[in-house]
Amino acid sequence: MRYAYLFEGLTLRRVFAVSAICVAFAAACVWFFLNTFWDLLVSALCVGYTSMVLFTIAGNVRQSRFRREHMQVLAIVAGSFLGTILAGVVKGRDLTQMFTEKLSGVSITMGLGVGIGCVVVAGLLLREKHARDEARLLQAEAERHRLEKSFLEARLQLMQAQVEPHFLFNTLANVQHLVETDPAAAGRMLQSLIDYLRAALPQMRESTTSLGREIDMARAFLEINRVRMGSRLDFAIDVPDDLKCKPFPPMMLISLVENAVKHGVDPCCECGSITIRAAEAEGRLKVSVFDTGEGIRPKKGGGVGLANIRERLKALHGTAAKLVLEENAPRGVVASIEVPASS
């Protein structure tokens, strides 16, 4: 059935409803017309059924030139016209006579058909709109649940995020050496490690945090890596003091900085630099991590941390926040997080 879809919605219920309206209408009209009830009922049913079928088809036709509602009203007019002719045929009337001598009768049938049809259609469309609104509401609800779920998942991942053993042991090996050769430097490195761990260990993490705290954590991490990587890593932090008290989601900046070291500067054998910048403009706080490292190769993995950040940004700020990655010139990557700025 290739065109079966055109009749979608033409349910028994609809047929019964139309029949009922026709019966009621014929019964009501008996008082005003000379015709018999049965005669009126045949006219009403012809007009009603024809309109109903055309209305259903008009609602299902796949086209985009006209609005569906307009098509349906047009279908009612056409249905009333065709239905009136059909009634004439059913009753065995002479069609030419119908449109000459008995034109007034025909006009009344058609007019009533159109009038009642439009009232019924208006009711139907209102009900449909109501159903659509309801569906939209349910969809919004479902979307909200989905967001809540992804927020919880992202939060769980955040709580589970751990300090990499590789990082920890390598750092301690450096401290071990410095203790013997340069105790002051060993002290500084231990302090950086303590700062980093205090922020990075889940149970020590607070739910709200400021940009300043996130920057401090990133700085501790970068200090450690600068010692470890010797001359291969250089970094700069260019963040105005007045932005440091701004709220900023936790553990996002450090993820970007870790990526910049791990996937950017470290894989290159030459030296690279990392710069953190923050700026506020038009009510938006933008924090960027620039690296001059290896850059991204099209088939390289490593988007998991980024996907996590995106999920969390979406859960926190909807479409008002974003994470954007761009190529840095002449090499490397710029990763930026933009959130609505609040004081």
């Binding site: 470890r228 761009e326 190529e327």
Partner: protein, 252 residues
């Protein structure tokens, strides 16, 4: 008077090179660290120039890592791997013939390694290829054979878009539109080429000119003729599935 033993240390962290060197020379006065390397890039030249009997190779190094370097050294020298922490690596070493050192260094453990090495120096270096192969398989970051990032020009910048973010690709005359929740960009790579490079599990061609990310599909419904229409989550545009591709969405 025994002959002196030549060794080379390769580690990307300068302090850890210095530390290993000082500990080794303290434990093994007969050892000469003849060369230090930041990574394995020049390993072949070092083998030829210094002909060392011993290599201490950090597994994690940029450029040419310790495992690749060990493969190049082959049977020309004894290899000791150095690693900070890696469960798999340690497991593999426990089973294999090769020795390893954990960072941070433990003096007693390092002394044991030195004792074993002194014994082994008389014998031929072990064949490491099998061990290296299994380690590479376990440690190497899985680089996917599919496209993971799309590079697209947005104004003067080159935007890097992870493919998971892409809702759909659609050809648009000379270019291909890359549509994401946050906006869209143009690339020059045609649909045909994208199709070869993208993960076919996630990206389905649904039309001559369209590839959709199935993760972002909200619903599919029948459309005009034998086509179907796809609506996406978080995006208003409706996508047409042409007749040739509707079988992808037939009910199971």
């Amino acid at each position: 008077m025994s002959a002196r033993v030549a060794a080379v240390i390769a580690d990307d962290e300068p302090l850890l090179r210095a530390q290993l060197r000082s500990r080794l020379t303290r434990l093994w006065p007969g050892l000469d660290v003849v060369h230090e390397m930041e990574n394995g890039r020049a390993i072949e030249e070092v083998v030829r120039a210094h002909a060392p009997a011993l290599f201490f190779l950090d597994i994690h190094m940029p450029g040419v890592n310790g495992l690749e370097a060990a493969r190049i050294v082959g049977k020309r020298a004894h290899v000791v791997f150095v690693t900070a922490y890696d469960q798999y690596a340690v497991e593999a070493f426990e089973r294999g013939a090769v020795d390893y050192v954990l960072k941070p260094f433990n003096e007693d453990r390092l002394a044991l390694t030195v004792a074993r090495l002194k014994e082994r120096l008389g014998s031929r270096p072990a064949q490491l290829d099998d061990l290296v192969d299994s380690l590479v398989a376990r440690l190497a970051p899985k680089s996917s054979e599919h496209l993971r990032w799309i590079k697209a020009s947005v104004g003067p910048n080159v935007r890097l878009i992870p493919v998971e973010e892409v809702l759909f690709f659609r050809s648009d005359e000379k270019y291909t539109r890359v549509v994401t929740c946050g906006g869209e960009a143009l690339i020059r790579k045609p649909i045909r080429e994208l199709l070869d490079e993208l993960d076919p599990q996630r990206f389905w061609q649904i039309h001559r000119a369209t590839i959709v990310n199935v993760d972002h599909i909200a619903s599919v419904r029948r459309g005009l003729k034998d086509q179907a229409e796809i609506t996406l989550r978080d995006h208003g545009e409706t996508l047409i599935v042409s007749r040739a591709f509707t079988h992808l969405f037939k009910q199971m």
